[in-house]
């Protein structure tokens, strides 16, 4: 196969599967414990009651 075909193959894979992997990683990260003002690593700092 010519080198240009291999470059297009890598380009296609990078955009499509790389992009998909990145989006799935973001979705997965969101499911994990969130670190915000009220919690660190998902452990709440303040008692809401």
């Amino acid at each position: 196969m010519p080198i240009s075909a291999i470059i297009m193959l890598i380009f296609g894979c990078l955009v499509l599967y790389g992009g998909l992997g990145w989006c799935l990683w973001l979705a997965q990260r969101r499911r994990g414990p969130r670190q915000d003002k009220e919690s660190i690593n998902g452990v709440r700092l303040k008692n809401e009651e």
Partner: protein, 489 residues
Amino acid sequence: MEIAEDRWQKRSSFVLAAIGSAVGLGNVWRFPYICYQNGGGAFLIPYFVALFTTGIPLMILEFGLGHMMQGSAPKSFCQVKKRAEWVGWWAILVGFFITTYYAVIMSWCFSYLVHSLKLSWGNSAETFFKQGFLHLSSGPGTIGGIRWPILLGLLLTWVFIYLCISKGTKSVGKVVLVTVPLPMLLLAVLVVRGLTLPGALEGLRFYLTPNFSALKDPKVWLAAYSQIFFSLSLGFGVLIAYASYLPRKSDIVNNAFITSLANCGTSFFAGFAVFSTLGYLAQATNAGVGDVVSGGLGLAFVTYPTVISLLPFAASIFGVLFFLMLLTLGIDSAFSLIEAVVAGGMDRWGLNRKRANLLFCSVAFLLGIIFTTRGGFWWLDIVDHFLNNFGLVPVCLAECLVIGYLFGPSKLRSYANRNSDFSIAGWWDILIRFVSPLILLVLLGNVIWEGIRTRYGGYPGWVLGIGGWGVIGLVIVLAITFMFTKKRR
């Protein structure tokens, strides 16, 4: 309200259902052929530009609108502007009529699944398909009798579709756990089989070698945009209905990116299965790859069966795997189109789910009988051409105009950003207001010009009048009629 009670249990159910709806038969038999015809690997450039400038933005629009309005396409557009309700009806009616013949193609796949066991097509897959299987008449003017095996397959298809949507998101959420990963797995098996055949690399060379000079041709860019519009399930109201079943705090933007990229990734991957086997076919028949390449129905029912017959071992098994892949690819696209209509019927007339499912599946089955006749193939070709070109493109255009100018894209954007994994900026407004409508106008102008300049398929005028313009006219009349029918209390 029934729609509000029907919710996706998990985010993954929604994403899989949306991917299942977008990924269909066209991913296998259309994309690789279009890619080859329009510059090979170079086609990826306009394809990605089309994906990021109109495909994903329109998907965000549909997801955001459905989620914000919590209703089917007609209800959602009605809430945007009362007079825009027809856009929603048009969308779901186009999808409904497409399902009537899409189910017939799936019925062919059912039959071919059985024929694969004995490789019934022998040495001439084309003769078998046209004469042995379809008993094809001389033209659309000769309807001929019903082909009972196809009708039986059609009935079976509709029973499956009915069962898949029987309990709304609950049943769909379970079905897509099988119907989305299974065809991907089967596709992977076919890719591995294809790549291990002699001549496979020659086929891939045709698929991927870029011809960058093709990018100067506007037709290549039009082909890229058409491919994106037709393959992402946009403009059918499906994505609007599916998004309306999402819980209140749900991601919109990232889900649209995941769905679009998974769909396009499947198309790209399918190209490896198609072109590796075409390379083998070319070598086995001492022909060039360019001579054996085909797309659409010809690829699925003539070229691929020919290759299957030539396989050195386990030919029947690969035949079964191929048609099982087509069936599982098609089923979730088919039931999603019906689901959009069911959601519309439930919203408008207050039908319960069971009754709506039964009503719309039965009507679609009855309408599909015309395509099971000996002349059905011709009518399928005409209806498909007109609905895709003159039905779908205006819907997408109207969606952009309604949101871009009547509703305000920034309102929908800030809503979509609220619970999304990442946000979209003001560029989205520009794409929805200017870029997408402009491209859709060019696409529509092009198909109208082609329609005037040439008579599609060389069919007689009266045939195009009934099967083409007649069906489009029917969609318009029904959309307007439904808009003014009495709403449920």
